[in-house]
Subunit: 269 residues, 2 copies
């Protein structure tokens, strides 16, 4: 490694400078990263600013995570590296840990009844299970969704747990809350879904809802609301609901508290 | 400036490194910054990671902006610098521009009726007007809220416009949508509030709702829902609602689409 391969940077001490580096450490395999979406340092004279792409993509992420954006199709092309870095670096894991902490703080305050009717509803994809290994081979939401490829990935039954969700799930189970899984996956995927949940470390849920023939073609909000209504009609009190999509959380028969997990890769209506 | 005041940092070229610096440029006066909350660079052996505080505070911000956190009192003490940097740097302005863009994209698709009944509801504080000049003298949400100090600030009528909101407000006005202002401020503050809105560049709203005697002590969600219901009962169609608090947006008589603006400084139930 010669001198010509070393960058020497002088920072005057009175300038507040901080450096961020996307972590190469991850539970998930990291693709070669294009650093262009990271906060980049520019110093023209004495003017310093965060890169336009980083600011733009942070703003875009704010609007999709709060549902300000409404329905959207694909991530902005200039945000591909940003989304890749977010999903494969520390931030996705850390943000989902913060959501788990919020949910757990709420759950621990519940006085769980001994009638066995306190319920929590979890979505599966990007909530209990992470499909990042699939999406990193398919452009992190920058490509048109290919159902056949995704179904092939589902058939492998090898999606890892989102660590924060597994931790929360186990704590919730210990509190005596009944757990219901409500996924947009279809009945024909029941066996591989159970196999994958088991592989990822999930156990002892009460019931797993998948889309049956009559649920095909309905919006997720409608399908999921109807299933929650079924639970309410059986006498369950839905204390909480966890999902990466707003369509997991809104509609009717909504939970007392809802917990939106991060997902800047795709939108489901 | 001697050599001992210069920090020399060597970066190997093969390491993807990016540097972010909180911008000293702002519409708002920037306080001396404690850089500890910014992404900080650590390199222990070959391990690199974003600072724990930055990751923690980003995760916390995710939970409050999505309402996962539910009610909260004060910003975490370790996030004071983070919130300060967010609010006084480029990110707050940029995120609120993204929200304005989302709202405008929706508004432009509306076929505004000529019956004059298409309505939009705006909150005022941290939505149309920015109180950052006040909060930067009061710890950016790290101190207990002091109503007297805040009312003194309101009496000055010098809060600047949040630029993104002023731009959106004016575009909406041009589309022919009727604008309603719905604030948690009280009737005794009507004159200074109108004066401040005028000072900041806002004009031609249809009506300004402030809390009357019977609204005192009610939760914002209840008070604001009741006022929106009054509008609906008058035949208005509430197309959109803009606010920095979830209590501006949820409850009943909710708008067709809601637009959550960023506010990591305080929570109003």
């Amino acid at each position: 490694m010669g001198h010509n391969q070393i960058a020497v940077v002088f920072f005057l001490l009175f300038i507040h400078v901080s450096v961020s580096v996307s972590s190469p450490e991850s539970i998930l395999q990291l693709l070669p990263s294009d650093a262009s979406s990271l906060p980049s340092y520019n110093n023209i004279g004495h003017r310093k600013f965060i890169s336009d792409d980083f600011l733009f993509c942070e703003g875009w992420r704010f609007t999709i995570e709060t549902n300000d954006a409404g329905p959207w199709n694909r991530i902005p092309s200039r945000c591909l590296s940003f989304v890749q870095d977010y999903m494969t670096g520390d931030r996705y894991l850390s943000d989902s840990e913060a959501v788990a902490d919020s949910a757990l703080a709420f759950a621990k305050k519940i006085e769980v009844s001994d009638d066995g009717k306190d319920a929590w509803v979890f979505d599966i994809d990007e909530t209990l299970l992470s499909n990042v290994p699939f999406y990193q081979l398919h452009g992190f939401g920058s490509e048109i969704f290919d159902e056949q490829s995704f179904n092939d990935w589902v058939d492998l039954a090898e999606a890892p747990a989102l660590p924060a969700s597994l931790r929360f799930y186990d704590e919730l189970k210990n509190l005596g809350v009944k757990i219901f899984l409500l996924t947009g996956r279809s009945e024909f995927q029941r066996n591989v879904t159970v196999k994958n949940l088991d592989y990822a470390g999930y156990s002892n849920w009460e019931r797993l809802f998948l889309r049956g023939p009559s649920d095909q073609g309905t919006h997720a909000t409608v399908y999921k609301s109807a299933k929650r209504k079924e639970l309410e009609d059986e006498g369950y009190r839905i204390l909480g609901s966890s999902g990466d999509q707003w369509s997991d959380l809104i509609g009717y028969a909504i939970a007392k508290r809802s917990f939106k997990l991060p997902n800047p890769m795709y939108y489901i209506a």
